[in-house]
């Protein structure tokens, strides 16, 4: 029951000047022009467009407002999280090298149609929580990096698994990741060279 209204998971938001019908769920090709008030991150994929099942059917099985807009309905995230902990959720601590404080994220909030979209959403959420001037880049070979656009420092998302080893985020299927992840750490790229190569485990 956890709700994550971070900007990571969005469809079309209620754009100004559009009437009711226009705000209903529509399928769009990825990369098509967004409306002015669209809160979709440029780098975040559009889950419903990617999903093969949604693309195939005329009326998607998902409810009318599968779209999530930032800060709507207007309930404080503290309250949403508190109610979510009563239900199934998995909060893990997130540390960023160099930042003085930790944050928590609920991994169950990012379940998407594909692993790829879940990871994208997670990274976008991390970006929101820590800095508003981090952007994340997804390189061709599935590597993910977060870049502080002000200082130019690159961060690589890593996680500690049940055995206490530090792994690169993004290797394993999403569900397995949620299962095994104990905590997250955005490590500076320069330090991440010591991590196990991707092929391992």
């Amino acid at each position: 029951m956890s709700v994550e209204t971070e900007r990571s998971s969005t469809e079309s938001s209620a754009a100004s000047g559009l009437d009711f019908e226009d705000t209903a769920l529509t399928l769009r090709l990825p990369g098509s022009s967004s409306s002015d008030t669209d809160r979709k991150r440029a780098s975040t994929s559009d889950p419903s467009c990617r999903s093969p099942s949604a693309a195939a059917s005329d009326s998607p099985p998902s409810p009318k407002y599968a779209a999530r807009v930032v800060g709507w309905p207007p309930v404080r995230s503290y309250r949403k999280n508190a109610l979510a902990t009563a239900a199934a959720s998995k909060f893990v601590k997130v540390a960023v090298d160099g930042a003085p404080y930790l944050r928590k994220v609920d991994l169950t909030a990012y379940a998407g149609y594909t692993s790829s979209t879940s990871y994208d959403q997670l990274l976008a959420a991390l970006q929101d929580k820590f800095f508003s001037h981090l952007t994340f880049r997804k390189l061709g070979n599935q590597e993910m990096k977060l870049v502080d656009t002000v200082s130019g420092t690159e961060y690589v998302p890593t996680y500690e698994d049940k055995d206490g080893d530090w792994m690169l985020v993004g290797d394993v299927p999403w569900r397995m990741f949620v299962e095994t992840c104990q905590r997250l750490r955005l490590m500076k790229s320069s330090e991440a060279v010591n991590l196990a190569p991707r092929a391992a485990r």
Partner: protein, 603 residues
């Protein structure tokens, strides 16, 4: 202007040496004595405008100073004018920041100069400090703790962030005369488990002066032994709010130590695994609530953060005396609320989740005849969640609770008829906040916009000062609001309206408007500029996701030099060159602030 002349009109330029004070000084003394009885902030403000000597007298005697926008006035200015302040309230971020609309770090160091001012005894009589929506660091708290005067008694942090258990430990250990420490709804910094400070144990030994201690939002576990010891040596404690790690058995032990309890935040309200919960049963909890005359002393209950429903009926024994009940963290169902709601005849404030359904609200309407404040919050804050409450519940409340003053109601769908009925049944309404969670949802029975419903509210509720709209609204709704909402001070609008006309209606009609929050509406520069005559009377205007342009905002900044016009960019990558993401403007005596993060531009 001879010294013997006692009848001069102008105030004396030097203190006189004559045996009896001159008439003007007498007047000042009388004024000060009389003004001490004037409490209401608006009255004080009015008195200070009468003339200079009234201004002086009022400033000297003002004990409660509220700086409702921390960026509007500097601490030095406040200290110069109100040197005798006992209680200071500071408010920071705009409310929409609560919903993640404002990027973090927007005004992270706004409190620093105030902390420094407090530390340097700029307000020597300071007794109590209330901070709301302000970023406060551990360093700030430490500075305060070490340098506030011994008369300092109360610290209240509401919706604040930026600090951790370390800051609380500083306060606990150094503020010797502390009577109130309330940490409410704060997003504290996460800490490693082994780094969390045991701030509860940091209170000095021996009896404390604590009267109120609230830490319901504190996420790590507090060592129970230390908590129990603290409560045991705080004989004056009558308000206690514990966090969700405190089990029912532990709560029972704490209650046994606090016979004077009036306000209780119950923690989890579920048995735990510890030694305190061994052999716990319903009877013991019932006893905890019946003992120490609690049915006559307890007036407020909250918490229930992980409710074990089989224990909830225990609160029936105190229900008759309760004036405030907060169940908003407990997914209480209708049959769980029925056992005790029937006895809640004194209830004035009730916060529940929509899990109580229309049925539960009907019961509330039937028994809680004195209800003044109601909040129905969503269990599942999604636009497409299951519909648990509807117009049926709203209508029932309006028919049963005629004295209702304030309502916040989340629902999936609503009808105009129900809103109109409420406007007719509840003429005392001062706050009407309806949140139909589906954006642009019309009246689900007639298919019409919700214009008539909101129109009826502003028309019939003449005391209305705060309004939040939702659902499908055309410009007509705002025509009504502008025409009838003459007492409105705060207005929140989201996903509504058709054109600039709507904003024009608001700005030209609502003559008492002070706070305006708008998000995702088709309002542009024309609408904004129609309010130029009024903006100086307002505390702030927030417009995000609208159709404003840089030119329009620049025009406002140009014509109103005392407004600080901030353009905030919440999405650096996705930006039109001249489009405005968030406009946040506020009047300020200090001009544009200096510490401005990269995503903020001040015009």
């Amino acid at each position: 202007m001879s010294e013997e002349d006692e009848d001069q009109a102008a105030p004396p330029k030097r203190p006189r040496a004559s045996p009896s004070p001159p008439p003007d000084q007498v007047l000042d003394n009388v004024l000060e004595t009389v003004l001490q009885f004037l409490a209401a902030p608006r009255d004080r403000g009015a008195a200070s405008l009468v003339c200079r000597s009234w201004h002086r007298a009022e400033s000297a005697t003002r004990v409660t100073v509220a700086v409702r926008n921390i960026l509007a006035a500097s601490p030095a200015r406040a200290a110069r004018r109100f040197p005798n302040a006992h209680h200071i309230l500071l408010k920071g971020r705009p409310r929409f920041a609560d919903f993640n609309l404002l990027p973090p770090g927007w005004a992270g160091s706004a409190f620093r100069p105030w902390a420094a001012a407090f530390a340097s005894a700029a307000f020597p009589a300071l007794r109590s400090l209330s901070l709301k929506r302000i970023t406060v660091t551990d360093a700030d708290l430490d500075l305060l703790a070490r340098s506030l005067p011994a008369s300092f008694r109360e610290l209240s942090l509401l919706l604040c962030d930026g600090f951790s258990s370390r800051g609380l430990a500083s306060i606990a250990s150094h503020c010797r005369g502390l009577r109130v420490l309330d940490v409410v709804d704060c997003e504290m910094n996460e800490e490693e488990d082994d780094e969390v400070s045991d701030w509860v144990a940091a209170f000095p030994g021996g009896h404390t002066h604590l009267e109120s201690l609230s830490f319901e939002c504190f996420t790590p576990q507090v060592p129970f032994a230390a908590l129990e010891a603290l409560v045991a040596r705080s004989p004056r404690l009558h308000r206690l709010g514990v966090n969700q790690h405190v089990s029912l058995g532990q709560l029972r032990r704490l209650m046994a130590l606090t016979p004077r309890l009036t306000h209780l935040g119950t923690g989890s309200f579920r048995p735990g695994d510890g030694v305190e919960d061994q052999g716990l049963d319903f009877g013991q909890i019932l006893t905890a609530f019946t003992s120490a005359g609690r049915p006559n002393t307890l007036v407020s209950l909250s918490g229930f953060r992980d409710l074990a429903p089989e224990y909830l009926p225990a609160i029936a024994v105190v229900s008759a005396n309760l004036t405030s009940l907060d169940l908003s963290y407990a997914p209480v169902t209708p049959d769980q609320i029925l056992p005790f709601i029937g006895q809640c005849c004194s209830l004035e404030t009730l916060w529940v989740l929509d899990s109580v359904r229309d049925e539960g609200l009907e019961a509330v309407a039937m028994y809680c005849k004195k209800l003044q404040v109601l909040r129905v919050l969503p269990l599942d804050a999604l636009e497409d969640a299951e519909e648990l409450v509807s117009e049926v519940g709203l209508t029932a409340i309006s028919e049963g609770c005629r004295g209702l003053r304030s309502i916040l109601y989340f629902c999936q769908r609503m009808t105009n008829a129900a809103v109109i009925t409420m406007s007719q049944n509840c003429p005392e309404l001062k706050v009407f906040r309806l949140c139909i969670m589906g954006r642009h949802q019309p009246d689900h029975v007639t298919g019409e916009p919700m214009d008539e419903g909101f129109g009826a509210i502003v028309r019939n509720c003449s005391k209305l000062t705060r309004l939040s709209t939702s659902g499908r609204l055309t410009d007509r709704a705002f025509e009504y609001i502008g025409k009838y909402g003459k007492s409105l001070r705060t207005l929140s609008v989201a996903f509504a309206g058709d054109s600039d006309l709507a904003l024009q209606h608001i700005l030209q009609g609502c003559s008492k408007l002070e706070k305006l929050e708008i998000r995702d509406c088709p309002f542009g520069d024309a609408g904004l500029l129609s309010g130029m005559h009024h903006f100086y009377h307002m505390r702030f205007v927030w417009m995000s996701g609208c159709n404003l342009t840089l030119q329009g905002c620049k025009e406002v900044a140009r014509q109103l030099p005392r407004m600080v016009v901030e353009l905030i960019n919440s999405q650096p990558e996705n930006q039109r060159p001249d489009g405005v993401d968030i406009l946040y403007m506020y009047r300020s005596l200090e001009g544009p602030r200096e510490d401005v993060p990269p995503f903020v531009k001040i015009l």
